[in-house]
């Protein structure tokens, strides 16, 4: 079920009404059923994977909580890691790994065959919920989180529908605890939730979906397009992916808010960052912090020699790239970010006065160019896109509609002004006439200018 679908617009009010009509004590049951229904509406058979992941981690955590020493806890952590990463490896990386091996062996003229599973579709959101539940197992292992004894609450933590499919990746300490609390109805929560959803829908259907119509034709045949069009398409993709993912997170936060639950921010105007370091503090925050806490620090972080630190940084960025997709282009994308991050840390002067603009320009350009690898189907496609960007393409022009450009201007302005605050906080502090004018402008844009092609949220595929 997509957030931007009629199915969801029927599902949501029903869930809200029934949720608040249910006795507070039993609301978790209702929310769990709603979450499972939400997920099963894609493919019912994949619901089994979430339930499997839930049961394994619930049991492992309980077992870990019975042992004081880390050594005794370790087998259960390993079981949890193997189960979750095993699911991810099988569904997401099986074909990729085998294809890569086949390619590798072919260089040495060695035949390599593997069993191809027909109709094996990537379960929606598997990268997100496996990482979420892994964070719980690791924290229980470390003794930083008590094992949850209530199976229903834990199952709800794993499958909480607003953020199930594309995050933010929440920790149990924050989300699980709230799910146990008894929430009372509040108009303020509903209002703030609706404000966030409105802004999220605007970003998704007016910016991301319209820009997809510029990006898709370009990446099908990059060499047909002029340099101007190539840059327009590269910029359009930068904003397509940002608005798409930002929209999902914003809608998720709004939905949770309507249910009386607060979930973390995932974006803070990342394209206004002055460095790649800052970019990663503002982009997909829940994933960056996940990698920091569960990969970078266990690898040793910045403790140790400079070479070790460099190794740790590169591992984190490369794994982050691979997490996004089963393709070497994603690994290259992660590697580029890792290298720029290292260069910045090692050589960047302190940011002052007029340098700021150039720092921003450098960061933004790097991010936009790196996205080319992220979007390209393969290296040949990326190479063609780069050739077009630097003038070796044809004369075709992408179709830039005035309305799309104006809508983009509106979003870019709002993103600039919001910077470190959320839309609901900003709008709540405005006077009624302005507040209502903003609501109506956003609604009018959604009604009149939303994209009309079927573009599911990009991060669903991760």
């Amino acid at each position: 079920m997509l957030f931007n679908s009629v199915h969801f617009l029927v599902f949501l009010p029903l869930v809200l009404v029934l949720y608040y009509l249910t006795k507070a004590k039993y609301r978790w049951v209702f929310l769990l059923l709603a979450s499972y229904y939400f997920y099963a509406s894609w493919r019912i058979e994949y619901l089994g994977l979430i339930i499997f992941s839930t049961l394994i981690d619930y049991w492992c955590a309980l077992k870990m909580s019975k042992h004081g020493a880390r050594k005794q806890r370790r087998p259960f952590l390993v079981l949890s890691l193997l189960s979750n990463l095993g699911l991810l490896a099988f569904f997401k990386y099986y074909s990729f790994a085998n294809e890569s091996l086949m390619q590798l062996f072919s260089y040495a003229d060695i035949g390599y065959k593997y069993y191809r599973f027909e109709d094996l579709l990537l379960p929606v959101g598997i990268s997100f919920y496996t990482f979420q539940t892994l964070s719980y197992s690791i924290e229980v292992y470390r003794g930083e989180q008590k094992a949850e004894r209530h199976l229903g609450i834990f199952a709800l933590y794993v499958s909480f529908f607003p953020q199930l499919v594309a995050g933010p990746i929440e920790r149990f300490a924050r989300l699980g605890t709230q799910l146990k609390q008894q929430v009372s109805f509040s108009w303020s929560n509903i209002r703030k939730g609706l404000q966030l959803m409105l802004y999220g829908f605007f970003a998704k259907v007016c910016i991301a979906d319209n820009f997809a119509n510029i990006v898709t034709p370009f990446f099908e045949n990059p060499l047909d397009y002029s340099a101007f069009s190539a840059w327009a398409a590269a910029l359009a993709y930068a904003f397509q992916i940002y608005c798409d993912f930002f929209a999902y997170s914003t809608i998720a936060i709004g939905l949770a808010r309507m249910l009386g639950i607060s979930i973390m921010d995932n974006f803070k105007s990342p394209y206004f960052a002055l460095s790649i370091t800052e970019f990663w503090r503002r982009w997909h925050i829940s994933l960056s912090t996940w990698f920091r806490d569960y990969l970078y620090i266990p690898l040793g972080g910045n403790k140790g020699s400079k070479m070790l630190w460099i190794r740790n940084i590169l591992i984190v960025f490369l794994v982050s790239g691979l997490w996004h997709g089963a393709n070497w282009t994603f690994v290259v994308w992660g590697g580029i970010h890792g290298l720029i991050y290292l260069l910045e840390k090692l050589y960047t002067p302190k940011i002052q006065g007029p340098i700021k603009f150039f720092m921003w320009l450098k960061t933004f350009s790097m991010v936009v160019l790196a996205w080319v690898f992220f979007r390209a189907q393969n290296f040949d496609n990326a190479s063609e896109a780069f050739q077009a960007l630097f003038g070796a393409g044809g004369t075709n022009q992408v179709e830039l509609k005035t309305v799309s450009v104006l809508l983009f201007g509106l979003f870019a302005l709002s993103d600039y002004f919001l910077f470190n605050q959320r839309f609901d906080t900003w709008i709540d502090n405005r006077k009624a006439p302005l507040r209502w004018s903003v609501y109506l402008v956003l609604l009018a844009c959604i009604f009149m200018f939303g994209g009309v092609e079927n573009h599911p949220f990009i991060y669903f595929q991760f």
């Binding site: 931007n4 679908s5 009629v6």
Partner: protein
Amino acid sequence: MKLQYYIARFLIVLAAFVLMQVLYTRFFWEEDLKEHADILENLVLVQDSVDAVYFGESSNFTIGKTDQDARSISEMLDDEFPNFKIGTVEKGAQHARIYHSLIKKIPASSPVKMVIVTMNLRSFSADWINSELESNLMKADLLLQDRPELVSRLLLTLNFYDNKRGSERLKDLHAAWKKDKISWPYEFPYDNIYDWDVAKGNGGWLLEDGSWDMPKIQLGTQEIKQFGFDIKEDNPRLKDFDAIAKTCEERNIKLIFNLLAENIDAIDALHGKDLSFLMKRNRDFLKARYQNNELVLVDNLELVREVHFIDKDFPTEHYDEIGRKRIAKNLADSLKKILLKP
């Protein structure tokens, strides 16, 4: 006091929506129609000036390279009736659901007394029903429905139409090919398209030296996919044609279904009489359903010989000048009988 506040707020929102509807209809609706449902423009152009409307797809307007007469079937037909004006509403790859939505759009004040609706046997096949073209057709259909334009536009944004992605459609198609059973009155090795296609696709036609005859395999398997089925009651296209018949009856518009000619000669050359047996049986099924006192189904199925089909490597209903003339003539003969009726 609080109630008044809420009523005032509600009225402001309502007024804003009315304003949005006016602005949208005035400045943006036409453009969206042009982009997603341009066939409606065809109808608007003719609906107030013709006695009959011919709803067609590429079979109507595709012409051969050497044709001297480039007129479409409907134009040839129109020329036969100087005192009965026939207008054309056409676009490639359309089907009955779109025709139905368009017929509903003909205003009550229109002089249109008759509609001629193209009936393409291929449009009943799983291949067409699960085709990727369907998304665009359903998008057009959504905009053609009677509701406030602003609401239609929002529903388009929310993808409130059959908007499956290519991979999902392919999966459904393969499932349909396996599931839809063909009942044979005699012994035949395959009872579904999937098995039949696989068998013929793997060396079903051979060259003299024993190697695979690829052109024949490609054409032959396409013919199986396009025509190797029985039309059953749950076929969505059948529901669309039923709906057309019902709407025309309600609106007192005379309805003629024009069943297109297929390349039976080429099909028999590759499949013997087996595949054309299914096609004729489906034709008979449609005739039994749609030929009665109120309805006319003009049967062109076997009317055009192979030489008059333009495409040789894929089954289509594209005819050269002579092919189009034969269909126009057959249709005109039926029309004359209707028009001469007191």
